[in-house]
């Protein structure tokens, strides 16, 4: 079914390019040709690799911090009260503002780019995990206390599985957010990566190049989602009765 869906996408694209004209929307073969040329020269893989590395680092950073802060805020009233205003501001601050400020304050550096991306994702992870921590079942908590579970065992086997759907939701939405933001950060202040290349293509009005990078990027996202994220989610929920 997925293959059919991909095929429909390419066919629609081809028809649209015939209708609009190749100058604005080049047909698939032209774009694929550019993609192969970029791949041959190595530039495609280099840029994709750099972007992926930024995604990975900022994702891990934001998820780790976000989970810890969210859990803490969900469990402690005072932490929740103190953290909430910050959370509201960060949640609603446009990504562009954070990225530009990061570049101004920390220079056009790798650290600034990664921090800006991570900070954009952080508040949504915090909010999701805070809900998860609030929804923890006190009955199971009492069970663990009665049976004298050591802290580590209680966290791993009682708390973590209850948080797992929230962590998965935060990871899923967070990854989508990062995919969107990483290119903006690269566009604005990095000398490599998919976002940078798209910026170059934009300035030269090189639409095949622009589409070649967008498409490879989309393909990578699709690959990671199906090969990593979905099997991981399936494993987490294997104890649940399956929906028909």
């Amino acid at each position: 079914m997925r293959l059919v869906s991909v095929a429909v996408f390419f066919v629609t694209w081809w028809i649209a390019s015939l209708l609009i004209g190749g100058a604005k929307l080049p047909p698939p073969p032209e774009v694929l040709q550019v993609m192969f040329a970029q791949a041959k020269s190595g530039a495609l893989f280099l840029n994709l690799g750099v972007t992926l590395a930024r995604v990975a680092v900022s994702f891990v950073l934001a998820m780790t911090l976000g989970t810890a802060i969210g859990y803490w805020m969900g469990r402690h009233r005072l932490a929740d009260r103190l953290g909430d205003p910050w959370l509201i501001i960060l949640l609603n601050l446009p990504a562009l503002v954070i990225i530009v400020l990061a570049y101004i304050w920390a220079g056009l550096t790798e650290a600034a780019a990664i921090a800006a991306i991570a900070i954009n994702k952080l508040p949504t992870a915090v909010v999701t995990l805070r809900e998860g921590a609030r929804a923890l079942d006190p009955a199971l908590d009492e069970m663990a206390r009665i049976f004298d579970f050591p802290r580590g065992r209680a966290f791993r086997h009682v708390v973590l599985p209850q948080l797992a759907p929230y962590i998965a939701a935060a990871a899923r939405s967070g990854l989508a957010l990062i995919w969107k933001i990483v290119l903006v950060a690269e566009f604005l202040g990095r000398p490599n990566g998919v976002g940078f290349e798209i910026g170059v293509a934009f300035q030269l009005f090189d639409i095949p190049l622009l589409l070649a990078y967008s498409l490879s990027f989309a393909a990578i996202v699709f690959l990671i989602e199906t090969a990593l994220v979905q099997p991981f989610e399936a494993r987490l929920s294997r104890w649940r009765p399956r929906a028909a």
Binding site: F147, P161, R240
Partner: protein, 236 residues
Amino acid sequence: MRLEVEISSKEYANAAGQRHEVLRHIAFTLEPGEVGVIVGPSGCGKTTLLRILTGLDQDYQGRVSRPGKQRIGMVFQEPRLLPWRSVEDNIRLAAPDVDAKRLSALFEVLELSGHRSHFPGELSLGLARRVALARALAVEPDFLVLDEPLASLDEALAARLRSQIALLLEGRSITTLLVTHNIDDAVRLGDRLFLLSSRPATVRHALPIQPPRSARSESDIAGIKSEIARLNHADS
């Protein structure tokens, strides 16, 4: 383990801020290895009492003495199994030191052998209760607490689980506290009976049940039940 209880009062504040007294002057002693049964009307505070006795609730007036650090095995009213772990893992997480032979014997008595690798979501309430009971016994508790273990099971299933509990308690000498509102269960399983009043709950009567469980005949049971009925009648 010897259990001495002297609770003078336990209050709750409801959402509107009013205070309700749930327990008032509950005093009793349970000798090591004895099975005490607490019988009282629904909602009289039996579960609250158990929460205090197991240390889950520390906010009360009075004193509960349990010597040192004791291993507690508890069967809650709801099974409270970890839904994401198999039956066997649920038990092993609570009792990491249980050896395979003892565990198999427990599974055998409770007729759980075929369900080891099932997840709690795949079990009926009766089965899940038995898993909870297996978990409570697998930790080799010094103090065993059973909160309405037979509630909302049908008659036949309740009778079977009751005889399984009796069988399991027989071979061990665990200080046990059983909570129920069923006089029949109480008389069949207990050594000592505590009759509670409705809220605020106090111990109205404490009576030892004679003869010992293994020698108790149907006519003994009928006799004790009519004695309890007489006491209840005299109170009302």
